[in-house]
């Protein structure tokens, strides 16, 4: 049974139980955050680095966390920002136009050791990589993480209506890709 966020925060506030609280938080959220990052950056090693960076930031800043938002939306927000920063850095490093980064990631996907999907799933991933970054984010959080629009809105700072429209467009593009690509 997982610990409530409030309990984690209470224990973290006490120096005597801070480490215990952090371990509880890791057990509860590390996999969700990892997969959220992994779906964005594709490569396992990159995702590994980023997820560690995210939780170190959480460790340093959790004491200042105000409960005006949910703990997990706060975690998702940190993870999203770290992933987008990483992807932008990759674009600059590889001198790739911002709209072509999906091509690079698709190449990495094909060569990845840690990809166990069938042909259809590979096709889906390639379809996702044709989407703009934010649209891909919205689709991932809605389709794979099954988050509510208001939760996604809290994470991305985008209105619920905008998120719905973004998701709608993403679905159409993916379906079109799946129908028209071998």
């Amino acid at each position: 049974m997982q610990t409530e966020d409030s309990e984690i925060l209470r224990k973290f506030a006490d120096p005597a139980t801070r480490n215990e609280a952090f371990n509880l938080l890791l057990q509860k959220y590390q996999q969700k955050i990892y997969w959220h990052i992994r779906r964005l950056v594709i490569n396992h090693d990159d995702a590994d680095d980023l997820v560690q960076d995210v939780f170190i930031k959480v460790w340093k800043n959790l004491a200042e966390f105000r409960s005006d938002s949910q703990l997990y939306t706060w975690l998702y927000r940190i993870a999203t920002n770290e992933s987008i920063t990483f992807l932008n850095r990759q674009k600059l490093k590889n001198n790739v136009p911002f709209d072509e980064v999906g091509y690079d990631l698709a190449e990495s996907l094909a060569d990845s050791t840690y990809f166990d999907g069938d042909k259809a799933q590979l096709k889906l991933q390639k379809a996702l990589l044709t989407l703009p970054e934010k649209q891909r984010l919205v689709f991932n959080m809605k389709y794979f993480d099954d988050l509510k629009y208001d939760e996604i809105s809290e994470i991305l700072g985008t209105s619920v209506g905008g998120l719905k429209a973004s998701f709608h467009l993403a679905v159409k593009k993916i379906e079109h890709y799946l129908l028209n690509t071998d």
Binding site: N23, Q52, G117, Y143, F144, H168, E175
Partner: protein, 209 residues
Amino acid sequence: MDLENTGKEWREEAPLLSAMDKKDPFTVPDNYFTDLQNNITSRCLIEDARFRNEEEFTVPAGYFDSLVEQTEGRIAEQTVRSLVSSPGLTVPDEYFSTLHQSIVARTSKAVAPAEAVVRPLRSNWFKYAAAACVTAILGSVLIFSNQDNSFESGLSRIPDQDIINYLQMHSDVGDTPLILESLGQNVNLSDISSDISDAELEEYISTTL
């Protein structure tokens, strides 16, 4: 598409997508998440320790201001070293193995007081004076030798018979030798002067002596 019902409608409008398995196709290494928790915890402790050390340690004033230049200088130095590995200077064989002994030997010797160096009086004026003296001496020798030569050479041109005649004519040197001979004798002047008048004697003295 009705955005309010997007959650249901999208499945109708995207049958291929909705039919697909939502399982993540990505995998992770075995025991990854167990190790991940340990890794994250360790890194957090390291970050804490580093943060504490950063508060305790200080750096000299102006350290970071000169750090860039120092780093660039070190890089340049490394670059030069990579291009020129050795300054090209060598030492004799076994030099360093005998160096210590040489130093000890030199330092253990009693240092003799330095002898006062008497600088001989040599100066430029002395040289000139010496040269002048030599010149004068040589000149004198030459002059005198020329004088003797001229007197002798002149005399050699006079015939011998003329010299003999001159000497016979002028051999009478007067009464001087007689007077000189008589100087040591006790001569009674009254015996000599009794036949000679005073006037004759005065005339004799003025013409002879």
